[in-house]
């Protein structure tokens, strides 16, 4: 199935493909499970643990809600893990390219990671 005679750099990327595939699968599965557990908990408790229309919107609020196991905080934890999954994919790629001394690949993926970081820092501040 695997074609032979692939270009050298594609051969190097094979390892990365396997790592990223595993990371994405685990990330989606884990976050889906947490969201599902939170959802069942919310439906069973029949209340979100927050005043109507309120829920965590910051990491600090999230951690605080999770400590006292509020249903919406559990759901939001799963959603945050889901959002973190593609970001982790980029971070792992940066590390991969740096280790292989592929500076071009490292520069490209580090730029993307930089934009993501700025996006999250700006996210709370933008009107």
């Amino acid at each position: 199935m695997r074609p032979s005679g692939a270009p050298r750099w594609e051969g190097e990327l094979e390892r990365l493909r396997v790592v990223l595939s595993r990371l994405l699968r685990v990330g989606v599965w884990a976050s889906a499970c947490i969201v599902a557990v939170g959802l069942v908990y919310y439906l069973a408790a029949r209340q979100s643990g927050y005043p109507h229309g309120d829920y965590p919107r910051s990491l600090a609020g999230e951690v605080a809600g999770l400590m006292v196991l509020r249903p919406y905080a559990v759901i939001a934890a799963g959603l945050l893990l889901l959002i973190a999954t593609p970001i982790a994919r980029v971070a792992v790629s940066v590390a991969f390219f740096v280790r292989r001394r592929d500076w071009q690949g490292a520069a490209v993926t580090a730029t993307v990671l930089g934009i993501l970081t700025v996006a999250f820092m700006l996210g709370a501040r933008l009107p």
């Binding site: 695997r2 595993r22 939170g38 959802l39 959002i83 999954t85 071009q104 490209v108 993501l116």
Partner: protein, 279 residues
């Protein structure tokens, strides 16, 4: 707005939307947003937030399968993510500044245009005589993939990198502004501008989608657009539906489905357009 009852009811609806989305080759989110707006009366920003989360779930789930086979071009995807993430940040910024009705109109137009692009026919062959862009050569963007239908390895070159970056930036803006994956527009950049083989284009677009959506997710989260009571059943339902849809795809004729549901989507898009315009 987000009571226990609504949450319970949203789950099966999202499963249906996810199944249909996978069968039609559209995202579940873009189908679900009109339903959230007009059936559940969810304010548009919360509908878009829920859609965005479902995009991350489904695209990461399917990318997990796609990255393994060599259809998705990692170098092209990672390079163009610079443009899509930058676009997504701009789109999210725009969302905070324009009227909800205008957002509705743009969403309706995006829905209508992706509906029109459905069912484009493609042969398995890579385009021939593609002039390789100098930047593509420097970044080693070209590649090859195993075409199961031809039973051979097909190598390809990459053209028009600046144009591709431009269209990708726009796709990113739409993704951030509308909470969608904007796969249709990503495929346009890869397939029509950069002349990648169609199968490689769809797989690479899918690979990029999660990262693009994550770029605007920070904004959506901090602004409270990701409401757990709405986003959770939507993300979970669409994910389940998409998995079901991919399984069913083998057994169902997508052409028949398209004939049934494309008119429905067009009507939904037109209705949304009229609502947004205020008619």
């Amino acid at each position: 707005m987000s009571t226990v009852g609504t949450t319970l009811l949203l789950l099966p609806v999202a499963v249906a939307a996810g199944t249909l989305g996978a069968l039609l080759g559209l995202g579940g989110g873009i189908i679900l947003v009109p339903v959230l707006l007009f059936v559940f009366h969810v304010p548009i920003h919360y509908a878009l937030g829920a859609s965005l989360v479902s995009v991350i779930a489904t695209s990461s789930g399917s990318a997990a399968a796609y990255v393994r086979d060599r259809l998705s071009n990692l170098r092209v995807g990672m390079f163009l993510e610079i443009a899509t993430t930058a676009g997504a940040v701009s789109g999210a910024f725009l969302l905070g500044h324009i009227d909800a009705r205008v957002v509705e109109v743009i969403f309706a137009l995006a829905l209508l245009s992706s509906t029109l692009g459905l069912g484009r026919q493609h042969d398995g062959e890579a385009p021939a005589d593609v002039p390789e862009h100098p930047l593509a050569k420097r970044l080693r963007l070209g590649g090859d993939y195993y075409d199961s239908r031809l039973g051979a390895n097909v190598s390809y070159r990459v053209a028009a990198v600046p144009a591709g970056l431009g269209v990708m930036y726009c796709a990113g803006v739409l993704s951030g502004l509308l909470g969608i994956g904007s796969g249709t527009f990503k495929v346009i950049a890869l397939d029509l501008c950069m002349r990648l083989p169609f199968k490689v284009s769809t797989a690479t677009s899918n690979f990029m989608m999660g990262v693009t959506a994550a770029a605007s997710a920070g904004f959506y989260y901090a602004h409270g657009y990701i409401n757990p009571g709405i986003s959770a059943p939507v993300a979970l339902g669409v994910l389940i539906g998409a998995t079901l849809g991919t399984r069913l795809m083998v057994r169902l004729r997508s052409a028949t489905l398209r004939r049934i549901f494309v008119p429905v989507l067009i009507v939904a898009g037109l209705y949304m357009l009229l609502q947004g315009v205020g008619a």
